[in-house]
């Protein structure tokens, strides 16, 4: 997929801006705070209708304006053009997404996964540093882009959870239901929730089994080969609280997971009732990143939980490897190269690693890179022809190419 151009109107610090992109490499440079990242954020709006930084739409509207519009034209591998636009009106709290000028009503089925984008920014470090919700969000988005069924299961689970929590809360706060009604309703929600959770967990495990191959490949390219990274699925269901090493034990069938969830919900239901909140389900699981280092003294290997032991550099490498693996996974699954957006990536990495990454960028499709200066320009020019790189200088919400 290529993004041919982008138009921003009243978006962040841009009053009005048209940008025509290079099909290969787009080097967006300028001082911090001038609006480089805003361009990438606008790309995320025309790709999947939201800010990749998780910003509220209202915050993206330019100072003293009421609405913004961003639009762009995508071109797929066989030359079909797609005109995507996203607009937001602050006073009406109304977001409209259009595909080829027509309003998109069921955004998840019409757009999601169609214009894949992989973002790598300092914000991405939340995947390893942040709380479990950040990791679930990262992997859920990735799986959902390749499976609409998964997206639907997630939406249903969120809704069932909201209903179950409302039930627990209503009962705790005001004894809203008779004892019998309440217990019957609770069992009903538990039944739905175990079913949905088991389907979701099963698909996450199946995904991890496939994804880990991509991940180890990207990781191996960035790091010494004797460090083996692992991603384990952490759920209350397996091994009495120990994270599940599914690579070793194999993936349980959905029915087996469902039975475990039903038992677990029965076990915890007293606690759920007294706290007035749902405590069991796929919404409470986590992904654990570990690094298995071959110990030179013992000959055996030592395992490091990334969260507690890894250095800043190792975190960053882990995240870059995750993102590059995301790129290749999406490309294979969707049969369509994602855009690769690298926001302020190179600034904090050591020179050796940057050279390594830069020398492989040719393997990726269209790339957008932001940086404060042109430090790595010479390096890039070794791999890209002069007409394959476009430069965009950003100052105070104006782009000069």
């Amino acid at each position: 997929m290529l993004l041919r151009n982008l138009t921003l109107r009243n978006f962040r610090n841009y009053a009005g801006q048209d940008i025509i992109f290079n099909p290969r490499f787009n080097f967006i440079h300028g001082n911090n705070g001038e609006g480089k990242t805003n361009i990438l954020e606008a790309v995320s709006f025309v790709s999947y209708g939201r800010s990749f930084l998780g910003s509220a739409e209202a915050d993206c509207v330019r100072f003293e304006s009421d609405d913004f519009d961003v639009s762009g034209v995508y071109e797929n591998e066989i030359g079909n053009l797609y005109d995507v636009s996203a607009g937001y009106i602050k006073s009406l709290k109304k977001k409209t997404i259009r595909l080829n000028k027509e309003k998109v009503n069921r955004y998840s089925t019409e757009i999601f996964g169609k214009f894949p984008v992989v973002f790598l920014s300092p914000h991405s470090l939340n995947i390893t540093y942040g709380n479990p919700a950040e990791r679930r969000k990262f992997f859920d988005m990735l799986i959902a882009q390749t499976s609409r069924l998964y997206l639907d299961l997630l939406k249903d689970m969120v809704r069932v959870l909201k209903q179950k929590n409302a039930l627990l809360k209503n009962q705790l706060a005001s004894k809203a239901y008779s004892r019998e009604d309440f217990m019957n309703l609770l069992e009903t929600y538990n039944k739905s929730l175990s079913k949905l959770s088991s389907e979701i967990v099963y698909r996450r495990l199946r995904f991890l089994e496939e994804f880990i191959v991509y991940f180890r490949k990207s990781f191996g390219f960035l790091m010494a080969a004797d460090d083996e990274p692992c991603i384990d699925y952490d759920s209350e269901l397996f091994d009495e609280g120990k994270p599940m090493k599914f690579q070793v034990s194999g993936i349980p069938a959905p029915d087996e997971i469902k039975r475990k969830y039903e038992d677990m919900m029965k076990l915890r239901s007293g606690l759920e009732i007294s706290r007035g909140v749902s405590l069991v389900g796929a919404h409470r699981n986590d992904y654990l990143f570990t690094l298995r280092k071959k110990g030179s003294f013992t000959g055996g290997s030592v395992e490091f939980g990334l969260k507690n032991f890894a250095s800043q550099g190792e975190h960053k490498t882990f995240v870059i490897a995750l993102k590059l693996a995301e790129y290749h996974f999406l490309k294979d699954k969707l049969g369509n190269s994602p855009l690769l957006l690298l926001d302020d990536l190179l600034s904090e990495l050591d020179h050796g690693r940057v050279s390594k990454i830069v020398s492989h960028l040719m393997d990726y499709g269209q790339i957008f890179l932001t940086a404060t200066d042109l430090t790595y320009d010479n390096e890039l020019k070794r791999f890209y022809g002069s007409n394959e790189i476009s430069y965009f200088n950003v100052t105070a919400g104006k782009v000069k190419s």
């Binding site: 089925t109 499976s147 609409r148 069924l149 639907d152 249903d156 809704r159 069932v160 909201k162 209903q163 179950k164 409302a166 039930l167 209503n170 809203a176 239901y177 008779s178 009604d181 019957n184 309703l185 069992e187 009903t188 929600y189 039944k191 739905s192």
Partner: protein
């Protein structure tokens, strides 16, 4: 905006409380009514009052009716052994139009949704249980649950089957799946998955 007339403002406010009517539409409807001849507006007013005065809920199935017991419940031609449970009166009309169902109905007037404060007592579940369990004249053997395929509809189906199963009544739900005339290869994966889940033995 400057308030031109309190009378107009009252009508706009009342109209915009109707489902699917925003303030803009309410204003347009109000302006239309202002320009209508008096007798037309009287007809509309009368129709509104009549619906409130004359329409009741059927004592048996809770559908809307002008009588104590609705025409379907009274009909000699309908089978008394099977009930189709629906969320709203308009669902009865949709199923009646197919001319396929010859049993009775039960209208719940909603679905269970704790988020909106709707529990089993806020919809017509008790009335249904009475028909199945306590009504001395009841001959019900089978229940078809024809609720919407939303999370709330599903919950209501699961809840009803849970409390009704001990009564020994056969329970089924309407199948979800492929629209007639569509090809399997063109169906989206969710529709297909639901169709496979709801498969029937042949």
């Amino acid at each position: 905006m400057l308030n031109i007339s309190d009378t107009l403002e009252t009508l706009v406010t009342e109209l915009s409380r109707l489902p699917g009517i925003g303030r803009k539409t309410a204003q347009r409807l109000s302006m239309f009514i202002i320009k209508q001849p008096r007798e037309d507006v009287e007809k509309l007013t009368l129709a509104l009052m009549d619906i409130k005065d004359r329409i009741k809920f059927c004592r048996v199935c809770c559908n809307i009716t002008e009588d104590e017991v609705c025409r379907i419940c009274c009909s000699e031609k309908r089978s008394r052994s099977i009930i189709c449970v629906v969320e709203e009166p308009q669902d009865v009309y949709a199923i009646e139009k197919t001319n396929e169902f010859r049993g009775l109905y039960h209208v719940l007037h909603g679905r269970i949704s704790p988020l909106e404060g709707i529990g089993p007592d806020d919809i017509r579940v008790r009335e249904l249980i009475y028909r199945l369990e306590d009504d001395p004249e009841s001959k019900i053997e089978e229940l078809i649950l024809a609720l919407n395929p939303t999370v709330e509809g599903e919950t209501t189906i699961l809840y009803l089957s849970r409390i009704i199963r001990p009564l020994g009544i056969r329970i089924s739900r309407i199948a979800r799946g492929l629209p007639i005339g569509s090809d399997i290869e063109l169906a989206d994966e969710i529709t297909l998955a639901k169709a496979i889940e709801g498969r029937i033995t042949i």
